[in-house]
């Protein structure tokens, strides 16, 4: 039985949103797992891959595969980064000498909510978060990893949490990586639409399994000084006394 989880902390989570990683560890420890963090990790290669720079992406991806070669179970708090490894590495590394290792790694990488519900088989992780919360379905999580119910199952078990469905929850928030700065007028408009839907729910918090979406939505909400704030699913699950002020 798996007892030690290897952490895959996306590059921007390490640098900009470290709390997401900390919260994920809190939850994993609470339900009885040991965690390990291979310090050598940097990035999965997605920014270069999505921009079409597959040679650069391949080198970084191969490094990733080497860093995680010995890991038994890898967990990541980001749908898009998990999808990169599970769904896109096979194509990116199709002619790489590390192709077989990548295919093997694919089977051992999980997104955080998926791991809790499907592998650890828990939906109640002893959280308390007495707030009105709405959930955004991030694109790669939904359409590449087919994860839709699991985060909701986890949220429904959080004590005091009132979950309201977001209108057009499956519509892209507009981040899209480099798209957010290459086509800021479109990205911004998409963010506005998402923020409008969030505000319409009256929720205090919008949550998701992708920190990149939340970074973008948060930027839009704070620009308009909205009441709603963003929080990663791990942040809610880690909470036992409600939101920190």
């Amino acid at each position: 039985m798996v007892r030690t989880i290897t952490l895959f902390i996306p590059c921007f989570v390490d640098q900009l949103l470290p709390q997401v990683g900390v919260d994920m560890i809190t939850v994993l420890r609470r339900i009885g797992y040991e965690v390990d963090f291979p310090d050598e990790q940097t990035c999965c290669g997605q920014p270069a891959f999505n921009s079409g720079f597959w040679n650069e992406a391949r080198l970084v991806a191969e490094r990733f595969v080497r860093v995680f070669a010995q890991a038994e179970t890898v967990i990541c708090p980001s749908g898009s980064c998990t999808a990169m490894v599970r769904c896109f590495y096979p194509e990116l590394l199709a002619s790489s000498p590390l192709r077989e290792d990548a295919l093997a790694l694919e089977k051992r990488v999980f997104e955080f909510s998926e791991f809790l519900v499907e592998v650890a088989k828990v939906t109640d992780v002893g959280s308390r978060f007495p707030h009105k919360v709405t959930y955004h379905d991030s694109c790669h999580l939904l359409r590449e990893l087919h994860i839709k119910e699991q985060p909701r199952q986890l949220l429904r078990q959080v004590k005091g949490l009132e979950l309201v469905e977001l209108n057009h929850s499956e519509e892209c928030c507009g981040f899209g990586g480099v798209f957010s700065v290459k086509f800021p007028e479109i990205s911004g408009a998409m963010g506005e639409v998402k923020a409008n839907h969030v505000e319409a729910t009256g929720a205090e918090f919008v949550t998701a399994c992708d920190p990149s979406c939340l970074l973008h939505i948060d930027g839009v909400l704070r620009r308009r000084q909205a009441r709603a704030r963003t929080i990663h699913l791990a942040g809610i699950l880690a909470a036992q006394e409600g939101a920190e002020t």
Binding site: Q15, I25, G45, E56, G176, P184, A189
Partner: protein, 464 residues
Amino acid sequence: MSGDLLRQFHHHAREKAQDPAHRKTIRWAIDTYDAAVARGKTRFPDWEAARQRSYEIKWEAVNHLDRYLEEFEAKVIQRGGHVFWAADSGQARNYVLELARARGVKSVVKSKSMLTEEIALNPALEREGIKVWETDLGEFIVQLRHEPPYHIVTPAMHLSRGQVIDLFREKIPNDVIGDSHEELVAAARRALRREFFAADMGISGANFLVADTGMIAITTNEGNGRLCTSLPRIHVAFAGIEKVIPRLQDLATLWPVLATVGTGQHITAYSTLIGGPRTPQENDGPVEFHVVLLDNGRSRLLADSEQRDLLQCIRCGACLNACPVYRNIGGHAYGTVYQGPLGSVLTPALQGLAQYQHLSYASSLCGNCTSVCPVKIDLAHHLLHNRRNAVQEGDRPWRERLGMRLWRWAMMDRRRFQLAGRMGRALLRAFGGISVLKPWTESRELPPAPTMTFRERWRKNGAR
């Protein structure tokens, strides 16, 4: 030049993305569509099986294109029709122009055909002094406004009833009696009915070319396609070479699938098959029938075995409606004949990646297009492939190439990565509003820069 197209795209995208009235109109139209399609899909016990079946029919057709095109051609000729193969837009236009000249054609009624937009047929006919009447109501409206179609299925999606009232009062004042939706449709009927009966030539597209019976298949709800192909003495049908399907029975799948994702209907009101000019036993109908088969870059796309499946597209419009970018910028901002995800992948394939690669980058890669396509074209993946191809062709700006090289340099070593991260966070803290970050900050606040990274917290106390 590609730079100009990109600048224009940014300009139009920004204009539309910041127009609340436009956003409201488009979203409402698409929400209506979504509800109708959701209802329509419940008729299928297994919608995924229907998609797979449609995919199989089109895959078979596209991957044996020469065989089915030859069969189709032979049957059309057997039935007294003409088949003209046009390598490019110019040849297609010239064929019709010469035919029109030879037959003394003065006016033409047209049923909707995106292909005729692609070859810019209307202006060519008009330069010859031939009057062209678009008869699909949406096409008629945008024609009166001197605009291209906004959407491949719903050409006037961006207009309100008020705008149509003003337009009709200006352009067809004698046919307008009232302001309601019904009366506007009645006005268009009145105006166009005269033209149906007076026209010398009817021009149509074709949703499918049926090889085993030598017939073209056209679907409309209005009946304009029927009148265009019944009343004038000459009928010319335009179709891309990829439109051929093997058998009549394939329509038992494709007609309901197209109708469902096109409008949410089980089947379109007029599902028409035309197999030639009138037979000697018939009392009416055109005496001449011509099919113009257009290549215009399709055979080149066929040769790209990775992107060949784009030719399976049945022009249903589902990907346009699914696309969050389309929902915000609308159809005209693309500046191309085909819009939305379809247009973003097809236009570079037909007209060159060098000029049109920006369309493949103007996407968040959300994948909704892939999930709705009834013939299982992985459009989002094709956008990614286009990006890869653009890089391989050395077409990306030098700043971007340099940036990616630096990125790779940083990511290949943990210490370099940490250094880059530290510098980035310092930049964020110190110079929040500088121009390099303006694309982000024009609509969003910057994320706060934490003092300790995750790995620093891990190293300190295991991130407890």
